[in-house]
């Protein structure tokens, strides 16, 4: 080989080296998000998406990803539209190299569409606290996880809170508890549970649906004004929440007897109503506020480097924290999958295993910079809902701050378990699913 050829080979080898090197480290963990930064529900979708993006950036910047493997964040805009959400899923599910490791649809409508697909594509769905409640039955829905609590558990928690204010469960007899709900799959989720609770505890239940988007609710609140229920629950979303809170204040319905689902309890919902929203209540499974150690890390490693997805001063808002806890649990499931399977190059099927044996206790939360942010969870083959615990938070309009005003209530399993069993078995029958055994 003459000198010229030798030089050529050497140059080619040097040029090719980074290619091989990058190939050796090329495995990336694909975490997709179905965002909605546009459309009528964008004000709620933006903080959720920002939190996802910030946490992934934090891990990539601070830790080099998960256990040293970089995360590839793939986002797709759904506009909170079910059809677009399904298109997004189809487009991103096979993203190389790992395929989508877990899907967080952030929409009950999209979740319902993806549930049958997830089993076929073998991609876990993590519908955190939303979606199909009976997916809590892991024997029928091995690919779907809806921890830390379902809408049905939340309904039982809110009724327990009401009972505590009224003097015990026996005091519910004869009381009127109404539900104002978004007239959609999401809004209708708690109805069965509330009906069962009404039957058991003897309170009068009535549902008042509000059509999308909920800008006009006068007729609903006139009926509430006329019938004066003792308590009003709300399963609302987007503009529906803001309008409802204003209408409730207008008819002088007491705010401390008006409780929203955890999707009706963010700053977006109460700020437009101003002082009128003071005392309004909502369900919660994590804290509000941006003064946890994790938030400090995000400011330091992400925002100080100009990589923040949103406004620095909005870190810690309720929906931002909701996104944060969602991506944190997803990452922990991936970490768990790596541990179980002894590889860092995990696949969606392995991550499903990671979800199914996930345990994030208080000690681990503290390590993650989230001490007292939420409660510990433990997922099993049978129970994909986890602990199902829900607390109640209250809005202070002057301080512009949410504060927890109750303990975390355990769900009334004697109410929810038969309903979950019935609904999941009906699904299994309709879809020819043979429930697996969990040993």
């Amino acid at each position: 080989m003459n000198l010229r050829k030798l030089t050529g080979v050497a140059v080619a080898a040097v040029l090719a080296l980074p290619m091989f090197a990058s190939h050796a480290n090329a495995y990336e963990l694909v975490i997709p998000t179905l965002d909605y930064r546009t459309g009528p529900y964008a004000p709620n979708g933006i903080p959720l998406a920002n939190a996802y993006s910030d946490y992934i950036n934090l891990l990539n910047e601070r830790d080099g990803g998960i256990e040293g493997v970089k995360i590839k964040h793939v986002d797709c805009e759904t506009g909170y539209n079910t059809k677009k959400g399904v298109e997004c899923y189809e487009n991103i599910k096979n993203t190389a190299p790992s395929r989508a490791l877990a899907i967080q649809p952030f929409s009950t409508g999209i979740t319902y569409q993806l549930i049958p697909k997830s089993a076929v594509d073998e991609i876990p769905i993590f519908s955190m606290g939303y979606g199909r409640t009976s997916a809590a039955n892991g024997k029928v829905f091995p690919w779907v996880f809806n921890f830390p609590a379902t809408y049905w558990s939340q309904a039982t928690a809110l009724v327990q809170y009401i009972a505590d204010q009224e003097g015990g469960m026996a005091s519910l007899k004869g009381k009127k508890i109404y539900l104002v709900y978004h007239n959609s799959a999401y809004g209708k989720e708690p109805i069965r549970t509330l009906e069962a609770l009404a039957e058991k505890y003897g309170f009068e239940y009535r549902g008042l649906p509000v059509d999308h988007p909920g800008q006009e609710q006068k007729a609903t609140w006139l009926q509430i004004r006329k019938e004066r229920p003792d308590w009003v629950l709300m399963w609302g979303w987007g503009v529906m929440n803001q309008v409802a809170i204003k209408e409730a204040a207008s008819i002088r319905f007491p705010m401390d007897r008006f409780i929203g689902v955890w999707w009706s309890g963010s700053e977006n919902d109460v700020l437009p109503a101003g002082d009128a929203a003071d005392g309004y209540l909502s369900g919660a499974f994590h804290a509000a506020g941006g003064d946890f150690a994790l938030h400090d890390d995000i400011r330091k490693h992400v925002y100080d480097k100009g990589m923040g997805a949103g406004d620095r001063d909005r870190i810690g808002e309720v929906l931002y924290n909701r996104g944060l806890v969602a991506v944190m649990w997803t990452v922990e499931a991936i970490r768990n999958a790596m541990k179980i399977h002894g590889t860092k190059e995990v696949t969606p099927a392995m991550v499903r295993d990671g979800f199914e044996s996930l345990e994030v206790d208080e000690a681990r939360l503290a390590e993650l910079g989230l001490k007292d942010f939420t409660y510990g969870i433990k997922i099993t083959c049978e129970n994909h809902e986890g602990p199902g615990r829900v607390a109640v938070q209250q809005w202070d309009a002057k301080a512009k701050k949410w504060s927890m005003v109750s303990k975390f209530y355990d769900p009334l399993r004697e109410i929810t378990a038969p309903l979950i069993e019935e609904d999941s078995m009906a699904y299994a029958k309709e879809n020819n699913v043979t429930p697996r055994t969990c040993s």
Binding site: G39, D211, Q215, A219, Q223, V239, S250, G274
Partner: protein, 310 residues
Amino acid sequence: MAFDLFLLEVVISGLMTGVMYALVALGFVLIFKASGVFNFAQGVLALFAALALYDFLAEDGWFFAVFGFTLPVWLAIPATALIMILLAWVIERAVLRFLVKQEEIILFMATIGLAFVLEGLGDLLFGSDVKPLDIGIPQGASDWLLDNFNLYVEKLEIVAAATAAVLVTALAIFFQKTRVGRALRAVADDHQAALSVGISLDKIWVIVWSVSGIVALVAGIMWGSKSGVQFSLSLIALKALPVLILGGFTSVPGAIVGGLIIGVGEKVAEVYVGPLVGGAIENWFAYVLALGFLLFRPQGLFGERIIERV
């Protein structure tokens, strides 16, 4: 609460809500009346106007970032009106003037495109967050009516009704008594004939889109004060459609009367029929009501009668 009083309350609330719908419907009527175009972008115009107004008033807006101060309400409203006039001029220059001789359906399609462009532009310029709009319009129930008569009427809606009355009077004078107004009516009757007598179509379109933009600003203020300025505001256009079907696409009084009938009809239906069928009927019931009217008056309650002779 006595039954009759409750019915009265439902009817009053329906009337007031109807006025809010009519404010949106008016913008549609103005453009349809002058150009025969159904402006699909009218709801987005209301959103855009409210976003622009908020920007002049708030410390987190562009205006404050550039100039270091915010405008008082009395100045911010005319400033927003100027923005809407400027927008009308841009729409005429960039879209409408190229479509003068096209079929009306082409113009309609152009307004669909315009709606998406404006919505995207609004998102880009002002962001998607909910923006609380407070220009001093009283909120909540009228305490006097509630305390003395146990009657629930929203103060915001009383203001909206008064504003609508002023707006309709001003528009009626504008159309009937001014030279420009008569020119607008001439253009509405026949584009070609209007052109032949020396009426400038370009100018007329800028004027009518400007007026419609200002009406959209009023609607945007009322709806934005009610629920905060957010992108779902553009969907209030859907509430105006049955009003237009019922009142007629070319009649200003029709938009008002249509709004009132739809408002009362849907509220009475929701409260008294809704519970029997599971509720949430008011949205589609408004269309049932409007279509019922169409059977008897295809041109709408106040629309111009269509006579075509062979």
